[in-house]
């Protein structure tokens, strides 16, 4: 009993150990793997991200020039970010907000492939 007493007193007198989320939100850490954001202007539909994604979260449709991203399948492993040759994918440190239905993001790729000199 006396061994536990300092801890008990400290718990009674200190404030709560938790944050009142969602009223108080902690700033995301700089290195945290939050979520993945696509940039329509730079994407050239080269499909490296879709081939490398371990969770099959990216679908490329070359006829309609769109890229469909399923955030519910994404495991934020950064492989697409590291593999994209046109730097069209970035990693943001803020975590995604919860959703009640699985969304699908459709991006229209507008980037142009750099022409190789003949």
């Amino acid at each position: 009993m006396p061994v536990m007493l300092p801890t008990v007193l400290r718990n009674l007198l200190d404030g709560p150990a938790t944050r009142l989320y969602p009223m108080q939100v902690r700033e995301p850490f700089q290195n945290a793997r939050g979520h993945v954001v696509f940039n329509d202007e730079k994407c050239t539909l080269c499909s490296v991200c879709a081939l490398r994604c371990p969770a099959d979260a990216i679908d490329i449709d070359k006829e309609s020039r769109t890229l469909s991203f399923h955030p519910a399948r994404c495991i934020v492993c950064e492989v697409c970010v590291l593999g994209c040759p046109s730097d069209a994918i970035t990693l943001i440190s803020k975590w995604r907000t919860p959703f009640s239905r699985k969304p699908v993001e459709v991006h229209e790729a507008r980037g142009k492939k750099p022409r190789t000199p003949m």
Binding site: V3, M4, T7, N11, A17, F29, N31, A32, I75, V76
Partner: protein, 281 residues
């Protein structure tokens, strides 16, 4: 995987991997101590341990990017580095964690009611532990001095490490082994941080895995983790086999459960630190 080629890694990579695996061991043992308290109804102690564990998880997020699934290893090295600011932060937070967990663990280990629930409960003798193939703290609590870190993989050869062994083989011994391993892992992390050498954090790897096979054993927080990989020269591996420590510790539950009281069932099952989702592998 690097043993397939084989690739030589820089010392910095080995030290960084050691630091992160010891950090994972710290957070896993804090989780287990909280679950032990919860198993016989000591819920406030469970909440206290997990409050301390949040500090370690924040450290992991600062340095690797995520709390539990760190995914910081790649073939050929690691993805992130620890700079000077992070080193100081790690040292400060670990000192706080050690101080707070010392007072809590003293309260847990010396408490009369905790001893009544765990001493003599679920006794696993040395012969039973060895013949059933137990690994990790379950084995070391029965008097067998067996730890994969003694094979000196990563940077353990250069750190001051001795396995922690208890001889009574009951749930109290398993709790004592994990509590002492918690403090030992904090010490190992601080030692590795002070000795961290300079160097590259990733080595360039060319080509596909050659037709070769490789075996790697590491000491996960729950025991010995066994990896086998076989390449065949193409991009895809021919075979990959992972044997998790919980899979090796589960037969011990079959021996511990018969004859015990109904209220001792959660204490017995938890004392081997089961991770059922890993067993499915």
């Amino acid at each position: 995987m690097e043993r397939l080629w084989p690739i030589d890694l820089t010392p910095r990579i080995n030290y960084l991997r050691t630091i992160w695996s010891e950090m994972a061991r710290t957070h896993s043992h804090l989780l287990w101590l909280g679950l032990l308290a919860d198993a016989f109804g000591f819920e406030s102690m469970f909440m206290q341990f997990w409050r301390i564990r949040e500090k370690v998880l924040d450290l992991l997020e600062h340095t690797t990017g995520h709390r539990v699934i760190q995914s910081v290893n790649i073939v050929g090295g690691v993805r992130r580095d620890i700079d000077e600011l992070q080193k100081r932060m790690i040292a400060n937070v670990l000192a706080e964690v050690r101080k707070e967990s010392q007072s809590l663990i003293k309260a847990l280990i010396q408490d009369y009611t905790v001893k009544k629930r765990t001493v003599g409960v679920g006794v696993l003798t040395k012969e039973q532990a060895v013949s059933l193939g137990c690994v990790g703290p379950t084995l070391r609590a029965s008097g067998v001095s067996e730890d994969v870190r003694l094979t000196k993989y990563h940077a353990y050869g250069e750190l001051n490490f001795e396995p922690i062994v208890e001889s009574s083989g009951d749930c109290y011994a398993r709790a004592a082994v994990r509590a002492r391993e918690l403090f030992q892992s904090i010490d190992l992390q601080l030692e590795a941080l002070s000795k961290l050498p300079e160097g590259e954090i990733a080595v360039k790897v060319k080509g596909n895995p050659p037709p070769n096979e490789a075996v790697m054993r590491t000491e996960a927080p729950r025991g010995e983790l066994f990896y086998y990989a076989k390449g065949n020269g193409t991009r895809k591996l021919e075979r990959m086999k992972i044997r998790t420590p919980t899979y090796a510790n589960l037969p011990a539950v079959l021996v511990l459960l018969p004859g015990c009281q109904l209220a001792d069932v959660p204490v017995n099952v938890l004392s081997i630190d089961p991770c059922i989702s890993c067993t499915e592998r």
